[in-house]
């Protein structure tokens, strides 16, 4: 618990973690499990609202990492750690497996090297398969596939639930989540720092910078000039659920001289995703989509899976990945400033997040902080299931019988019930805006995009779910 701050005095904690993304919340959860007071200091109005929310949502084995890097090790470890945490908390995961598909002789020739690289990353399960086997695995592929490499362990996961579950567990362990606290200045001393934020000052003995796209800026506030984060925009198309049978597993491109291709992946919500594009930008807020991006995805997608474009596009989005020169994670401790940099975490950070948190705990231990886990930790929270593989309330007869609010479907496309919306507002970290409500429930994420439910959803947001429940009484 943080020290209660008397009027005017800054909030004071042992560790402030700047950034409430998947990495920051994982770190806060780990450290709050020790005998430390921890605060997540987040600029935006929700956790998981930056790069973490628009990810390709794959739980990676790490088969294609650069062997010997920190990233390679942490992704491989994180794969198991997050898999276990997901099972314990109810984060939707589907063990679909992946298939790299070679469309040219050059790509076909690259497969043995990729299999060997996977082995060097400690992943031995890849196998090279024939064109016929590729077609049998994914009948909807376009013509011309020459062969493939299987990666049976690659899985799909709910990136939104992951951050929510980590943050919820962090709170259960005593951490505080300070939303709308944008760090604008830092007074660093050898005894700790005072973070000047838009939500007031936060004093911390140690500061962990997990600010994602803005990690370079925060690093600069500590007086460093170590790296620059280039936002790399990735546009994605999400296809209607009726397309889901087309993509039984993750179809990955083979890296080639033609550049990185795009993937086709099922999602845990029952859709199919195509993307991403890769476009380096200089604007860290440019999450728009472009005509060129769509044209690119259409051209690629029509080759990989032509039938996809007979289906409707449910939504498009653009995520910004934090690209840094060198490519590896930057995990460094500064003993003078009691400061740890967690930078350069690319999209693999979703998989690696808990391993990164362990690594950061290790860095702090070396810096003299006692990070031993307490023996009275609360059980991991069970978070509401928003995945298609698990039981959803609308289809759960017993649950509806016990509470009719789960029988009142308010978002028809995604089959979200009034009970789930109510639960989101009753949760440890309730949503503050529509996007937050969407990430917790899938409300309005479906094919109608609000045609039927949008007005009800807005009323629900403003009344914290009460408007829907009032209806249930009638």
């Amino acid at each position: 618990m943080s020290t209660p701050s008397p009027a005017g005095a800054p909030r004071s904690v042992d560790v402030a973690v700047i950034g409430g993304g998947v990495v920051g919340t994982a770190i806060a959860r780990r450290l709050a499990g020790a005998d430390l007071s921890v605060a997540i200091v987040e600029a935006r109005s929700d956790v998981g609202d930056g790069t973490s929310k628009a990810n390709t949502a794959i739980l990676h084995t790490g088969f294609d990492a650069s062997p010997g890097t920190v990233e390679s090790r942490l992704v491989a470890e994180g794969y198991h750690l997050l898999g276990d945490f997901a099972a314990a908390t109810g984060i939707p995961v589907e063990r679909t497996g992946a298939l790299l598909v070679a469309w040219s002789e050059e790509e076909l020739a690259a497969l043995p090297g990729l299999r060997d690289k996977a082995r060097r990353n400690g992943y031995d399960a890849c196998a090279i398969v024939s064109a016929e086997e590729v077609r049998a695995a994914v009948p909807a592929l376009g013509p011309g596939a020459l062969g493939g490499l299987t990666v049976p362990g690659e899985s799909i996961i709910c990136t939104w639930s992951t951050t929510i579950a980590l943050a919820t567990d962090a709170v259960a362990r005593g951490a505080e989540v300070l939303l709308e606290h944008r760090v604008t200045a830092v007074d660093a001393t050898t005894d700790g720092s005072v973070l000047r934020t838009t939500g007031g000052d936060v004093r911390a003995r140690w500061v962990v910078n997990a600010a994602g796209l803005h990690a370079d800026t925060i690093d600069g506030l500590f007086g460093h000039d170590r790296f620059t984060v280039t936002p790399r925009r990735g546009e994605l198309l999400v296809f209607d659920k009726l397309a889901r049978p087309l993509a039984p597993l993750i179809v990955l491109p083979v890296p080639s001289s033609l550049g990185k291709g795009v993937l086709v992946s099922p999602t845990v919500y029952g859709n199919v995703m195509l993307g991403p594009t890769a476009e380096d930008l200089d604007d860290k807020t440019a999450t728009g989509t472009s005509a060129a991006g769509f044209a690119f995805l259409r051209e690629k997608g029509e080759r990989i899976m032509p039938a996809l474009f007979d289906e409707e596009v449910t939504t498009t989005y653009a995520g910004l990945r934090a690209a840094v020169p060198g490519g590896d994670y930057l995990l460094e401790r500064d003993d003078e400033q009691h400061y740890v940099l967690v930078g350069g975490i690319r999209s693999t950070g979703l998989t690696a997040c808990i391993a990164i948190a362990e690594h950061v705990a290790g860095l702090l231990a070396e810096g003299g902080v006692d990070v031993a886990l307490r023996d009275d930790l609360p059980a991991p929270p069970r978070i509401p299931n928003i995945g298609e593989a698990g039981p959803r309330p609308y289809a759960d007869a017993e649950r509806i019988a016990a509470d009719p609010a789960y029988g009142h479907v308010v978002c028809f496309c995604e089959r979200v019930t009034a009970g789930e919306v109510r639960d989101a507002f009753d949760s440890a970290i309730p949503p503050r805006d529509m996007d937050g409500l969407r990430r917790r429930t899938r409300l309005m994420n479906g094919r109608c995009q609000g045609f039927f439910c949008g007005a009800d959803a807005q009323a629900a947001l403003e009344t914290r779910g009460a408007s829907l429940l009032a209806g249930a009484d009638r």
Binding site: K241, T287, E312, Y394, A397, I400, G450, D456
Partner: protein, 430 residues
């Protein structure tokens, strides 16, 4: 606690139905009309159940609070919400059980439906199923409109829900994308909400709609129509600040606004039809049906804008009467052929689709003796030809235009000379 007469909870003591002679999925104009007509035809011993997922039955007219409803089916002119109430009342008076907040989520058998409602999760078995799930407007992502992704981009459906059912402010300066009949409905709603329509953007040569609407648009609503133009980007972080409009010659300009309404570009809500294995028509994307409104699934019928996205509510409602003989036939009350029968109809561009898709030239005519078609090009006085096995078997010059953005009606008599045992019939503009 107030208990409106329309809520299922108002009838306690009655357990929700798990069997019915006919289950109609969807309580809009076509579903309610079908249910009422079937209940009257089947008599008081039969059970006709309408399952509607909204809080109130009535469908889209509930939130289309302007006049023009009921002309062809009720022979009177009503505002949308009043029209919806009349249809609900008529169904109930005919003995139909109208259950709201009851969503059909899938099939539990050929004519058995999985239903989620506050009263519980259950399976409803029916002797006959009528799908009346309607249509929705494609939203921005499905229309591939790029740019920023701020708040303030809505479909007409969401706009009218906000304004007419929730009485919410929506903005001050709107750009309406689309030039369909529904686009003017959006303009009228905006005006009622105190929001000025600063531009209506349509790719077509003109904004497509009935003459009365066009006149209204020019004179009363004073909406600048940007024809031959399209919105190529939406701008704004947080909230919409404008749209970039490109003309056909490639010139671009920014139109400042704080609301964008994407109108029309309808697609049937066909999820249940697809998950039931019904064959769909590639043009309408709704179930393939014959003139009697049978689908390819035995005992499963379809009506309304699920079949022709979209026609006006009254024409959708008339489908509800058209389906009656086929349902009675299936239920053994009358003789009707057991499955889809007739010749297959096709269309040639610029025609996009035709409904129904199977018509027996010697059998019953489609509703109102009209084939419903959609065109992507404006033709002032179109000549329509029906071609079978390379031969023109029918031809009509029509006194009304083929207009994009609304249904183009062609008398089904154009098929009178088609051979029932011949090949597919293609409809084209000569």
């Amino acid at each position: 606690m107030t208990v409106p007469a329309t809520a299922p909870a108002a009838a306690p003591a009655t357990a929700p139905l798990t069997r019915a002679d006919v289950v109609v999925v969807g309580g809009g104009p076509s579903g309610l009309t079908a249910a009422a007509a079937l209940a009257e035809a089947l008599g008081p011993d039969a059970t006709v159940l309408v399952l509607d997922r909204e809080r109130e039955a009535g469908g889209i007219p509930r939130h289309s609070d302007h006049t023009g409803y009921g002309i062809r089916d009720l022979h009177r002119v009503l505002r949308g919400p009043a029209y919806a109430r009349v249809l609900v009342d008529r169904a109930r008076e005919a003995g139909v059980v109208v259950e709201t907040r009851a969503m059909v989520t899938g099939w539990a058998g050929e004519r058995a439906l999985e239903v989620t409602a506050p009263t519980g999760r259950r399976v409803v078995e029916a002797a006959a199923v009528v799908l009346a799930t309607g249509a929705r407007e494609r939203a921005r992502p499905a229309r591939h409109i790029p740019g920023d992704r701020p708040d303030g981009v809505l479909t007409t459906g969401q706009l009218q829900n906000l304004v007419h059912l929730h009485h919410r402010p929506v903005g001050e300066r709107a750009v309406v994308i689309g030039g369909e009949l529904v686009s003017w409905s959006a303009v009228m709603t905006l005006r009622e909400a105190g929001c000025r329509t600063v531009a209506m953007v349509t790719e077509h040569e003109r904004s497509e709609s009935y003459a009365a609407f066009r006149l209204l648009g020019r004179l009363a609503l004073r909406v600048p129509v940007l024809a031959r133009s399209r919105v190529v980007a939406i701008e704004g972080r947080g909230r919409v600040t404008g749209v970039v409009v490109e003309e056909r010659d490639g010139s671009r300009r920014t139109v400042p606004c704080d609301l964008v309404v994407t109108t029309g570009d309808w697609i049937p809500d066909h999820e249940l039809a697809r998950s039931g294995g019904l064959e769909l028509d590639r043009g309408t994307r709704g179930p393939l049906v014959d003139a009697a409104l049978r689908t390819t699934a035995p005992g499963v019928f379809a009506v309304g804008n699920l079949l022709h996205p979209v026609d006006t509510a009254d024409v959708a409602a008339i489908d509800g009467r058209q389906v009656v003989p086929a349902v009675l036939g299936w239920l053994g009350r009358e003789t009707a052929p057991p499955s889809l029968s007739g010749v297959r109809l096709r269309v040639e561009a610029p025609l996009r689709w035709v409904a129904p898709q199977v018509v027996d030239p010697t059998g019953p005519a489609p509703a109102r003796g009209r084939l419903l078609l959609w065109t992507d090009a404006w033709v002032e006085r179109p000549r329509v030809e029906a071609v079978q096995d390379g031969e023109v078997v029918g031809s009509r010059r029509l006194p009304w235009p083929a207009a994009p953005g609304r249904v183009f009606r062609v008398p089904s008599a154009i098929l009178d000379a088609a051979r029932p045992d011949g090949g597919d019939v293609t409809l084209r503009l000569a």
